[in-house]
């Protein structure tokens, strides 16, 4: 049975990845299960300089979901390469580094540095970050700026480049078509959905941030289905995955790979469980390759 999938020039041993921001830098989960079973680990988003993150309430539980506002706390590019890559580079699994920036120049420096590291298989670009040069609007909210960003980054590396899109930041189909035109190798659909929790007693906002978890799954699936019909490059389905059945729905809707997010917190070895579930499904349906179900619905 063949679970291998290709994104850009890179072949991953299976299509079950873990989403950025839900798996730290990998080390934490390695104490709980064999993380080398995963197709790829997507790291916590890396910025040029270290970031302390948001100084307030960062998490709130919602029905079948959570809203987070972590604010991109991370060790910064230098420490990531020096400290975190030590552990990651010894792993027998795909390594995808998620990156974020406040200016095109910042993204550029990060990609130039990561490009030098052979062990990194792909770079996932978070474009849901405020662009400080344009009054803080997100990169994905201005097509011209996004086009410029992707064009710049594409010229810097031959590594697989993936763009991660938030459904709250624009038309996913238009942005995905644009990314494909700019030579991007894959699209992650979806980043979190914008959400709010209000404290009724104080009548104040408790948290405004990104909603994730099983609650968003059907909407996430619909987005994957719509986008994957319009582009030829691989789509990575992300949003609310909690078992192999919903993971399979993403493949049937057109995803080439999936990313497990919030559910890693609930059931740390959900990744290997889903891989087993996919294998059993293919066996049961007498199929030899995961590609035989991609986009079948």
């Amino acid at each position: 049975m063949d679970l291998k999938v290709k994104i850009g020039n890179k072949i991953f041993k299976n299509p079950v990845f873990v989403a950025s921001g839900t798996f730290g830098y990998g080390e934490e989960f390695s104490k709980l299960f064999n993380i080398e079973k995963l197709g790829a680990i997507i790291t916590k988003g890396i910025t040029l300089n270290p970031r302390d993150g948001f100084d307030g309430i960062r998490l709130a539980e919602t029905p079948a979901g959570i809203i987070n506002r972590i604010g991109l706390q991370n060790v910064g590019l230098k420490a990531f390469i020096k400290e975190k890559m030590k552990f990651l580079s010894l792993l027998d699994t795909g390594i995808i580094v998620n990156i974020a920036g406040e200016t095109i120049e910042e993204y550029k420096i990060i990609v130039e540095e990561l490009d030098k590291i052979k062990r990194i298989d792909a770079i996932e670009i978070n474009v849901s970050c405020p662009n400080v040069e344009k009054g803080g609007i997100e990169f994905s909210e201005d097509e011209k700026i996004l086009k410029n960003l992707l064009k710049t980054l594409r010229q810097l590396t031959r590594k697989a480049l993936i763009i991660k899109l938030s459904p709250s930041a624009g038309n996913l189909i238009i942005l995905s078509i644009l990314a494909e035109k700019m030579g991007i190798d894959g699209i992650t659909i979806n980043n979190t959905f914008k959400g709010v929790v209000i404290d009724t007693e104080s009548q104040q906002l408790k948290i405004r941030g990104g909603l994730s978890g099983p609650a968003i799954f059907p909407i996430a699936l619909n987005n994957v289905m719509e986008v994957s019909k319009k582009i030829d490059i691989p789509v990575m389905g992300c949003g609310g995955i909690y078992n192999s059945d919903v993971a399979l729905q993403f493949f049937l809707a057109g995803a080439t790979a999936i990313q497990i997010g919030t559910f890693n917190f609930v059931q740390p070895d959900i990744g290997p469980q889903i891989i087993d579930g996919i294998e059993n499904y293919l066996k049961k349906h007498n199929l030899k390759s995961i590609y035989q179900i991609i986009g079948r619905c």
């Binding site: 730290g24 100084d55 972590i70 919030t262 740390p268 070895d269």
Partner: protein, 267 residues
């Protein structure tokens, strides 16, 4: 193995209401030889459904003969559901998480101060410092809770009865009536410990730190924050600390939950 953490499912031995607000749950672990440091916690999946979604962290109240226990009170939907589980039901948990107490082990005169269900983070520690000079100051809102905890402490014989100081807010019995910090301050007029260990509501810990630092007594506190993963991957439980004269962000689940009082940036 050091730092090894486990996820397992086991049957609940008992889950009983021991007082007006407190519940005590006991369950067996298959890893009965594991070393658990006082101050470490356990992350429990409440139900096999998505609402509530996240695991809930609890201090390890006790660990003896391969049996883990937690002491909790109903604080929200998660603990409400937990309180309804019966003996024989299965629970799914990840443990032992975080780092335990450190400084307390190198001191001889130790005072422990808890507020309400904060006693849950201190009980197991008492077993490790039995041979030292200790005093426990435990404050409760309700008399019934105070009596239940005193009974548990007496049963375990881990601290001399005269060293247990209990305060209650609402009803009087043999206990001091009023804030536990008032009782503490009265005792501080007579003598001073080398270290104060605290566990309880954040406002109480802040006042406790002010009292202790004024008298130049070192402190170690068990902190609480809303957690996402419990293992340091989601960065949800950030706490501002001072390190080498710089303000840094640490994670309560991974870097804590125990912190020195003077490293915490109190807001």
């Amino acid at each position: 193995m050091k730092n090894k953490i486990f996820q397992e499912k086991n049957k609940i031995i008992e889950n009983i209401k021991i007082s007006e607000s407190f519940y005590l749950m006991r369950f067996k672990t298959s890893h009965h030889k594991i070393q658990i440091n006082p101050g470490q916690f356990i992350n429990i999946r409440i139900l096999n459904t998505f609402d509530p979604l996240l695991r809930r962290p609890f201090s390890i109240f006790d660990f003896k003969d391969g049996i883990l226990s937690i002491l909790y009170k109903i604080q929200g939907r998660g603990t409400k559901i937990l309180s309804q589980l019966k003996s024989g039901d299965t629970i799914d948990y990840i443990f032992p998480l975080g780092n335990g107490f450190k400084d307390v082990f190198i001191k001889d005169n130790i005072w422990l101060v808890t507020g309400g269900v904060g006693i849950a983070g201190i009980f197991y520690l008492l077993k490790f410092i039995e041979d030292k000079n200790i005093k426990l100051f435990a404050g409760f809102n309700l008399l019934d809770n105070a009596i239940a905890i005193k009974e548990l402490l007496k049963k375990e014989k881990i601290i001399a009865e005269e060293d247990i100081k209990i305060s209650v807010i609402k009803k009087q019995n043999e206990f001091f009536v009023g804030d536990i910090l008032k009782l503490l301050q009265e005792n501080l007029k007579k003598e001073k410990p080398e270290i104060i260990v605290g566990c309880g509501p954040i406002e109480m810990l802040k006042s406790l730190y002010d009292i202790a630092s004024h008298l130049k007594i070192s402190t170690e506190f068990l902190m609480e924050k809303q957690m996402g993963c419990g293992i340091g991957a989601c960065f949800g439980c950030a706490l501002k600390v001072r390190e080498n004269e710089q303000i840094k962000i640490k994670l309560v689940c991974k870097d804590g939950p125990v912190f020195k009082g003077n490293e915490i940036v109190w807001i």
